[in-house]
Amino acid sequence: MMNEQRREFIKKTALGVFAGFGVASGLVPAFSLEKTVLPAWDEKPVPGKIRWGMLIDMRKCKEDCQQCAAVCHHVHNVPDFRNKKDEVKWMWKNPYQNVFPTASQQFVSKEIKDRSCLALCNHCAESPCTKACPTEATFKRWDGIVAMDYHRCIGCRFCMAACPYGSRSFNWQDPRMAIHDPVTTYPTREQGVVEKCNFCSDRLVKGQRPACTEACPEQALTFGDLNDPASDIRQLLETNATMQRKPELGTKPSVFYII
């Protein structure tokens, strides 16, 4: 009796697993959980001490290169539904006038006009999305990262309406079906929650840099602490003319651009 029940159960769950993560078990040969290590810091962090930021040097960014976005989407199990309506994206490229619609558009040099710019979550210091969230599922972390608590998200999509940068995606359907090359080091999301760039908080905790900055063959992305005047990013901000997206909205983005 018990055995029969168990067999039935195994059959059912195996089916479920096959449906849910079938792609994964088939495609990844060495499939084991990542060994946990103690994080880069020990105690509860002090809020506001660090503010992570990124500087994107568009002069170095190669037009047909999408390496950063590809790596980002790979290491975070971002699904690809291959249709625009259900699209989920953390990092992508769009033409200059789409990414900076309120910046000067008249008589811009052809070089800039034709350039595709990298877009991702700005991790705003004054983030409208965290303000709109009715459950604090999206919240401002101690280190300036606008984080998602997928355990809490109710899928009302208020944050998507509130974000002036289009940085948020909703899981209109089960994302596991559309992860073509899954990794085991990061969880997936589930149907009905909103997701977005997490500034690689999963890698920061291990003392690593964000995946996109490592992936860029041209070293166009600089990541660092905006609160530390000695950091690389602050040095670059000091010595270069930089831009933020839609600064007139007062959101204070933590992502800067050199055009």
Partner: protein, 385 residues
């Protein structure tokens, strides 16, 4: 008192059966949506709210408009509204219920609904909206039910009803103001980012809700013989007309600010809705239909000769409701998403599943209203005999 809803003629039961059938269709469509996700709707990454939130917005307005009879009756002792006031409150009850159901239908994880209460976030307008909506629902249901119960017994209503009704008057304004604040506080959505949104919401709500109330009272008269009175309807007609006028005025001020200032971000959504943007003009015919039918119906309602004829009155009220439904639902919600933050223009067409869920929720609300009004009419008729 509720047992009075269980006694009715043939057409009453056919109507109930019809509503239940539509609810069934809606439930099965919703089941499909739960299973496959919101991908079964027409919504997508760029237009992330659609028909559901549009209905929600419209219905909160209908709910708030009960104040148009409650206020004159209780504060100004306009006795003509004696027979209409409970109808208005019952309409508010079912409209509030529907609007809450539309929020539920729009959620990706409705099983986590209680998270809004478990992690209350006063910085979020949704939290406040849920508070005022549920408060408004309870307030209206309790006070109107108590009033009707007292009337049935021929007794004075309990003493606590009056204060509750007085509280519900400012509450009605707050319900729709907070709903406007859901949208009006978002940077980067310029169609919504306007201080005139809350006043415009109230104006359109008072126009559409009052027109709907006139229609309901006419339907009651036709189906049950219960008449709320010509004077009450005449007064409501004038209220609806002026509220509609105010709505058109507010829309005009939006146009002026956007097009005279010539700031692209402010212009683009209005341009998309009414004239088309970069060759995309999905909603242009619908918006002009809304504008023209709105203006025309207000014109009819303002001419005494026309509004005194039932035929013209029904036509004008229906056109006004439809006009505001398009303006507030389709135009305001969908227009807010176009162009997207990345300057893209995306089209939106609701799917069959989405429409079925929407009709299902409407049927739930109409069923509730039917039952409540059935009780109401039965009590009134018994008293009159």
């Amino acid at each position: 008192m509720i047992e009075k809803a269980l006694k009715g003629n043939r057409s009453y039961w056919i109507w109930i059966a019809f509503l239940i059938a539509v609810i069934g269709i809606g439930l099965s469509a919703y089941n499909q949506q739960r299973w496959f996700g919101l991908t079964v709707t027409g919504m997508g990454r760029d237009i992330s709210w659609g028909l559901y939130i549009a209905q929600f917005t419209f219905l909160v307005g209908v709910a708030a408009s009960a104040v148009m009879v409650v206020l004159p009756y209780y504060l100004h002792h306009q006795k003509e509204f004696a027979k209409t006031v409970i109808i208005g409150e019952f309409m508010a009850v079912s409209a509030t219920l529907m609007s809450m159901l539309f929020i539920l239908a729009d959620m990706g994880r409705p099983d986590r609904l209680l998270n809004i209460m478990l992690y209350p976030s006063p910085h979020s307008m949704v939290f406040w909206d849920l508070m005022v909506l549920s408060g408004y629902l309870v307030m209206n249901l309790v006070s109107s039910w108590a009033m009707l119960g007292a009337e049935r017994k021929g007794a004075q209503p309990p003493a606590w009803v009056k204060p509750l009704v007085y509280l519900s008057i400012p509450w009605a304004f707050s319900v729709h103001t907070v709903t406007a604040f859901l949208y009006a506080g978002m940077p980067g959505r310029h169609l919504w980012l306007t201080a005139v949104l809350a006043p415009r919401f109230l104006a359109s709500a008072f126009a559409a809700g009052t027109a709907l109330l006139i229609l309901v009272s006419l339907i009651l008269k036709r189906t049950t013989g219960f008449d709320t009175g010509k004077e009450a309807r005449a007064k409501l007609t004038v209220l609806a007309a002026y509220a509609g006028l105010a709505n058109i005025f507010f829309l005009g001020t939006e146009f002026f600010t956007a097009f005279y200032s010539n700031v692209p971000a402010y212009k683009e959504s209005l341009q998309y809705l009414f004239f088309g943007l970069d060759g995309n003009c999905q909603f242009v015919p619908l918006m002009w239909f809304s504008l023209i039918s709105g203006v025309a119906s207000i014109g009819v309602l303002l001419v005494p000769k026309l509004r005194n004829s039932t035929k013209w009155l029904v036509g004008a009220c229906s056109a006004l409701v439809l006009s505001i439904w398009i303006d507030k639902g389709v135009g305001l919600i969908l227009g807010g998403f176009v162009p997207s933050p990345l300057q893209e223009i995306v089209e939106y067409t609701p799917t069959t599943t989405e429409i079925c869920v929407t009709l299902g929720i409407w049927s739930i609300g109409i069923l509730l209203l039917t039952l409540l009004l059935k009780v109401f009419v039965a009590v009134k008729m018994a008293n009159e005999q």
